[in-house]
Symmetry: C2
Subunit: 410 residues, 2 copies
């Protein structure tokens, strides 16, 4: 391989630190590595290029939004057409109604939709609707889950107060018994249960729901008047276009969407049941930029393209091939690679080695052009191909060899 | 005038109600009137057209974002250029750094910047930074203020719990004495004071700061280690490009921007002082869509265009001409029109009549093509002209005549 280096990224990172706390903030800041790229120059299909000209097959897909490939012609054309009519205007755009109709038609549990910009908007609104509908305050979430950065879900982190977390309770993942006990301890106090459809924590294997878990959780919610909220922000549109819950055999009252809903155009949505429609109308929820119309046109085009290209099945096939291929490559090097979660969103962990070795292997893959992340699930897109998988397996093979050479040299 | 009607808006509103709680939600829902337009078909410059083909001079400017005119060529071209490179990608875009540098250069109190999508993102982050910096929980805000829809600022509204408001205290506007007393009652407990630079409540005349108010508030914050947060989301870029605080003679620690920052492209920002930079780095703040790069390019182009066109002064001149003209027209009809707030953001109230008559006059203006809102401040843009003002005054004149005719007929 040619010598890998990122001097332009590093120089720009230096400039960034002067004017942005941390230089790069949020999840993009958390994923900055000493040796990795820090800024992109351009992106296309399943690839991006950093500011040093290095090319990467992208298995993070912008942390989810990119589901059809970067710069998808039909999606971007739909957004541009709407943009020419008007972006953020004093009135609502007709396309808002068309998108709501499309989501109601497309998503099994949706009888209405509201729009925001980020997952945090959807999850915060969902919690407010649950509280308004029940007249109760407590929200139950799963330990180690992530539902955004609003104060109500940031217990113990900087900037968080005791009162922010006063009404938040937690249960372990896949533990309906713990939820049932909690209901008993807080009889008549629990407004809602919020959870992703499967468990996708950071720095840990991802876990699918156990057999019977979701039907039992749904029954407990129904029996106790608890609003069942699915946070499908991360997994939405990569498991089932009708809602990830459909794949796991249950029906939530509210579903939060974000990330992939418009292939990178800024949009989020909350959809819900007819029973909660009146309450959703009574909770005041707004944002200046919520009504920007091009992302709504992009969302319709994204759903159209996902449907007509059978994208979920194809992403699953490519994702399975990737996971199987990487596990095989690891084995030939005497390593055990664990791929967890759905094949369209695999979490990769090099087992039986130190976390340092795991991250070193990830870094060796990145500098050879396969962009992985050591502490987070990955994302497949409809733009990834079998040829990408083959090339990625070759890169993983070379990365393992480099690890061994480094160990021998040390 | 030709017969004014909005059958297409009304029909689409009917469809909307089937799939969106309330049909149109948030502030756009709150501003829907029985006789007014409900959906736009297209927009250009200072005008929009509704789905029935009616044309309006727009004095709401999308509730603030539109500051240079709809579909501004230079801004939209800058966004499109960045879009072709990549929208929301796995890495940050160089334009994020360029925008942070531009804000630090442009905004007097800014030594760093962080980005979000809506005003609520900025205000919620500001409150978290204030709490993290001080290790205190209480936030003081002004009665009747609006800082977004996050639970922490929604006391008493549906979906809100007691714990959400547990650490929020309020003082009346322009009352530094009340703030001083509150500091005494909560010694060492107050993390921050958040306020808009002038008071712009709904359904009430807007109020500028009294002489000496802001210097005294700033001194009280400094003396008591309280973080001073200016919510410039609504007024930002319409009073002073260096921050509205500059016009009122004080220096906040944090300034929240949103709305007009990118002329309708979805973006918000928090800027702050060097002293709070490390704390801002420690507060985890993110959103998938925060890193969409075209709005950042749009923001740079917006600031460029505002600077080079001397837009703030020109908007002020046109706004003063509008307010003076409308007041004169009202007087010729025996009415007293009160225009309050800065001339670029006038709040209009027809005094000495019932609220019903006030709203009837607004409606008569709207159906003649001057889009006003009865309960909210208005916004001027750099695309509004003296000719628009003249035409608007003629419309206002006809609207007063129509009011009198309706009263005679009743």
């Amino acid at each position: 391989m040619k010598t890998y280096a990122t001097p332009q990224s590093d120089a720009l990172y230096g400039r960034a630190k002067a004017v942005i706390p941390g230089g790069i903030f949020g999840h993009l800041g958390a994923s900055v590595r000493a040796t990795g790229p820090k800024f992109f120059s351009h992106a296309d299909g399943a690839r991006f290029w950093d500011v040093d000209g290095n090319e990467y097959m992208d298995y993070m897909c912008a942390f989810g939004p990119m589901i059809l490939g970067y710069n998808h012609a039909a999606v971007d054309a739909a957004a541009a057409r709407q943009h020419r009519l008007g972006n953020t205007v004093t009135l609502a755009a007709p396309v808002m109604v068309e998108l709501a109709e499309r989501l109601v038609e497309r998503v099994a549990a949706a009888e209405w939709a509201l729009f925001g910009k980020n997952g945090t908007d959807s999850t915060s609104l969902a919690v407010m609707v649950a509280r308004a509908a029940t007249g109760r305050a407590k929200i139950v979430k799963v330990q180690g889950c992530y539902h955004g950065v609003a104060p109500w879900m940031r217990a113990g982190q900087p900037g968080h107060t005791e009162s922010d977390g006063a009404d938040i309770l937690t249960v372990p993942w896949n533990d309906a018994g713990a939820f049932e006990r909690l209901i008993g301890e807080h009889a008549g106090e629990i407004a809602g249960f919020i959870s992703s459809p499967y468990h996708h924590p950071v720095l840990a294997d991802n876990e699918l729901p156990a057999d019977g878990y979701w039907p039992r959780m749904e029954a407990l919610c129904r029996a106790n008047g608890i609003v069942l909220i699915t946070d499908d922000v991360r997994a939405g549109f990569r498991i089932n276009l009708a809602g990830s819950n459909v794949a796991f055999g249950y029906t939530p009252d509210l579903i939060c969407f974000g990330k992939a809903i418009a292939n990178g155009h800024p949009l989020a949505a909350l959809v819900g049941s007819e029973a909660l429609k009146q309450t959703a109308q009574e909770v005041f929820f707004t944002g200046t930029q919520f009504f920007s119309s091009p992302p709504m046109a992009a969302a319709i085009a994204t759903i159209d393209a996902l449907e007509t290209s059978d994208a979920v099945r194809r992403m699953g096939d490519v994702g399975r091939a990737l996971c199987d291929g990487l596990v095989d490559v690891a084995r030939t090097h005497g390593h055990t690679l664990v791929a967890s979660g759905p094949p369209t969103m695999p979490y990769l962990r090099l087992a039986e080695v130190s976390q340092e070795t795991h991250f070193a292997w990830i870094d060796e893959c990145v500098k050879r052009g396969a962009y992985f992340l050591g502490f987070h699930n990955h994302f497949l897109s409809a733009a990834h191909t079998e040829a990408d998988v083959q090339r990625t397996c070759d890169i993983a093979d070379a990365a393992f060899s480099a690890l061994r050479e480094a160990a021998v040299a040390a």
